[in-house]
Symmetry: D2
Subunit: 358 residues, 4 copies
């Protein structure tokens, strides 16, 4: 089966190409009676829109969402919710000269290999623009998990090698402030350095990678479906399905490989777990602690610097990708990460509800 | 839905508890006409069995597999293949004293939270023994991908902080030799140090973590189903669903976060891709290069050292897990990683076959 | 999971309410490279639109379809195809007075029981209008099966107890003419009688049921996935999911219960099967003969005659459903039946392609 | 995907061939804490075993079930339940002479067309013996729906054209007695005539078809998932997936085609629905009334009478199927129908629980 659906009870199917008519999502399996307003979704979409130094895309998209079904008198009805975002600023003409050439680091080559033809307009379905539908659907999921007291928060911890100073973030409350920030970075000083670095990269015609962390607060114990649909497995898949993510960590992540059992185990006392090396998940099931995830994002592949490549006839070409592109997938990816986590958690909440031993 | 099935066309459903009657897998969607013998599966299972310094489990399991259906006259028939492995060495009595206590780092607490009751015999379904069914099913998958020229190879690159010397591995051929080695480690000298480190940890009553790498050789371009079932997303899920894995990297992995676009992009010439930073996957679809994956495994949680914990009544307890347990999930996890990759690749091969533009 | 998706490789997800903004379908898993034009889909939708004596709905719907994604330069790209049909003639005000009352034979009562709230505007998602999305998606499926030489033809064989004279239909060619007819009835004389009967029922403020037959021509042997997704099982489900269908027969159908084995078996000679009692399916797999299906449709429940019912507060009420409604679900259901069969066959074609022994 | 799994939350995967090592089912998604004993399943299997005049199979099968996983201390644990039934009486030698010939009315031809090879031992997976796994899984499902107060009862209403006298069955209590009867027929006098008819058919070397009805008692309103997984659609699929079923009716079934709306609608009063023409399902959702279903079964295809057929080389042959076979699929199919309904209802109960508006 084609892979445009995620979730098993709460199911999201997305569709749409970067320069097609529109993008959208169908959310099936949303419980009835949930308050849902266009505004809820619009706010999430607005957070995803480019702004500040990082963004230099000339494309202007209003990203106005329409709810076409599944909501009546402000509440979900239990029927599928269709969300539509028209592409108002699509202008494929800029891509015409690139239609026969494989842009390095993009899906041009692999889409052609897979499908035998491809929509070359701005990357088609392989464009980061696809994530607009994820964010819209994630906003629906957010309403479900919020009812259960769960909050998902993503933030930037590194761009181009500049990392935040963790001593400055002493509480979850500190983290909540990140949305005030253009880079969604909890350390304002680091953010300033990041902006300089981004500006330099842009001038060089290059791009930067970065790191995003996600905390899930208030998640009850008991979510996750061993042995394959473990919570960590489903979260990893959801995050890895985002275009630029090349690594996913949970809890202490890569560091566990160097730890001893006596260091990595989270011991328990009457006050709960003494530590949270596990990142809130044990044996694939949430343990009631905060869930910690970290994703490593590659630099945006579209760069002005000259690169070697092939065209569709196998001829060697050089390419300099003109036009103005984002320099870094961060911060736009931050709300996308949140959306994916929202979706996975909403699904697992319902999955657990279905089989809960009462 | 419960999460004991993986795959969409090639579908594997596993079942069984550590100290129950048996474990097994049902493989549905295997194409007909594939040569399949008990021996093929047995060899994979034998590779997973404990041996050498790392293992000190006293449990002796023959892990003899029976093919109960779906194979006729040495060939698959297209009907479901049922694989059965009896638990010959199960002895739950050793676990009786632990039945009301939460072992730190294990699923005892979360299984009870989720299901309201739990099979406490040796971890029940949360035991690493569950992976025996994965390896059996993976051996079936291996027959499918081998027909397509694909080979999956996993090996140990670090245990307890000791890493291999990459200068010593100059070719894929070198890697193939790893199976001769007890630790599946391509650097024999590092393996010697690892064994010493493992022996020390055992004496301390502690355990160690480690790193496993997986290379997929010969994979054709065009596999993977954007936007959610991208190849990297499905591989990450499959690996993260293995008990001790806490991080998954693809290609340059965590390092991409520090790279510039001009460094991370794989440029092309007539001889193909000049580099393979992407690890063989672009936009979620294989590009014909080798697929590189890396997983970081936490130390085995069952340790002899004293730990603080709670019992099921919420009373504080100390625990020292007696008996002899493995000191490190490596090397047993190596064939499990291979099995999971085999399964994902077999599934995606068939998915691509279904929609291929001819 | 909610049930708005059908198919496993070729997957159709529909959404939309009778008097909401729009209705639509997302078709995922359509192979790339299929010629697809808005016109193809529009023709199918036009065939479903009410016309002639049977229809008296005052609602005027243009049913104009938009293809929003998944098609590029006239060909499918392998990405999801989003189809949108705006509700231009929606006028929920007529339903306002019915919002608290359960219309007999409709889903008003059960939707409220299930979801705790309901979109009362014209039946919401339970309306027959929902089938517009099925027909649109079915037109995509039709392009796939047509490439494989398969043709699906549905036609009316009875309305209100008036049956066609089968002696008049001596060939498949005769059947093909049914689309020229307002009632899709292959016996023009019977059609005349049916129209009289329909007119009488309308005058009485009542409605009529009927029977539709479906023939699948040119279907290759080998489609169907035992033991649960047998071809007959999937076809039965697809047809029974249409609102008014209360019985489904395959081949000799209900008559087989009275037959002996020597009568019901289809013997074979070099020229093929001597008979087709089985209706083209043996052991759940197509045998290369024509597939015969028959569905029995109940009369439309909305009638002008007075009926007893309850309101949402449990108070007894009488109801006379004013406004003009269709008198019979036939012929509008005829293209819906074709659409559902198209979808099932397209899915099974791809499923067989995935595992075919080459 | 191959079709050996049914259900979306409560999922049953069956496997096994008629003359293979064993048959079985994996039940995933069963809620934890359900009392389950081998005895519960064994009773259901015993009811399916041949007995009385209808059966003349010489094969003796104990059909002893083993629960291999998912149950601990008499309760389900929430992990997959693996059920195993060894084939103790398999003797494929009798089929050796039939291995290259297509038995009329059987799946021999279509399995070969589909898979390119086939297990010819007693029909392989296409054998009615496959249903042993359905019955075992259905017994697990029965425990779930019984907790919700739902009871499923199937019984014979016709064999070889002899129908029961409905005047004799005046209450649901009368129906409950059917299990005392060899033919599961609620009219003992009709049963006597049926037995004579069966005996005659056997002597002629022929076989008979029949009709089975199913009543679901105590089903709550609100189950079923429009628009594709409607309760009637899923029930129809489940029943049509049983080998010999060629037609499925719900409620008034085929008769609705001749009714007027004023006759077919079930009006409501304070005491509930005045009639039950709908058979307990409105708009695909249960309405709290009894669910009525009826299936029409073809005669068993294996008959002693001479028939024309082909062998695998396309040569014309005559065939007389020796050995002793059942004369009629009834009554063995009766518990199979119950099992399939149990499974669908258990699944929909959990599906509704997942999204219920609280």
């Amino acid at each position: 089966m084609a892979g445009n659906t995620i979730g098993s009870i709460f199911r999201v199917t997305t569709w749409g190409e970067s320069h097609g008519e529109a993008l959208g999502a169908v959310v099936d399996g949303c419980p009835p009676g949930i308050n849902l307003d266009t505004k809820d979704i619009q706010e999430a979409l607005d957070r995803r829109r480019p702004s500040g130094v990082v963004s230099s895309t000339t494309r202007k998209e209003a990203d106005k969402v329409e709810i076409l079904s599944g909501v009546f008198e402000g509440k979900t009805t239990g029927t599928p919710i269709s969300l539509l975002i028209r592409n108002s600023g699509a202008d494929p003409s800029a891509y015409h000269e690139l239609k026969d050439i494989f842009r390095p680091g993009q899906g041009d080559f692999t889409y052609l290999q897979k499908y035998g033809l491809r929509d070359w307009r701005g990357g088609g379905r392989a464009s980061g623009r696809e994530t607009v539908a994820r964010v819209a659907a994630g906003a629906v999921a957010q309403r479900i998990i919020a009812k259960a007291g769960i909050e998902v928060l993503a933030y930037t911890t590194a761009i181009g090698g500049i990392e935040i100073n963790r001593d400055k973030i002493t509480s979850y409350k500190d983290l909540r402030k990140v949305h005030a920030n253009n880079l969604f970075c909890p350390d304002p000083q680091a953010a300033t350095f990041m902006e300089v670095k981004l500006e330099t990269a842009r001038k060089e015609g290059d791009s930067l990678g970065g790191i995003v962390e996600i905390i899930v607060h208030g998640c009850p114990a008991g979510l996750g479906e061993p042995v394959f649909d473990k919570m960590d497995a489903d979260l990893a898949k959801a995050l890895m399905s985002i275009g630029s993510v090349k690594a996913v960590e949970i809890g202490d992540g890569i560091n566990v490989a160097k730890m001893k059992g006596s260091q990595a185990n989270d011991q328990m006392t009457k006050r709960g777990f003494k530590t949270n090396h596990a990142g809130g998940i044990l044996a694939g099931i949430t343990n009631g602690e905060e869930i910690f995830l970290r994703v490593y994002c590659k630099p945006i592949p579209s760069i002005a610097k000259q690169q070697q490549t092939l065209n569709t006839k196998g001829k060697e070409k050089t390419i300099e990708i003109k036009g103005r592109h984002d320099v870094c997938v961060i911060p736009r990816i931050v709300p996308v990460c949140e959306a994916m986590i929202n979706i996975v958690l909403a699904d697992h909440l319902l999955r657990q509800k279905a089989i809960a031993n009462e």
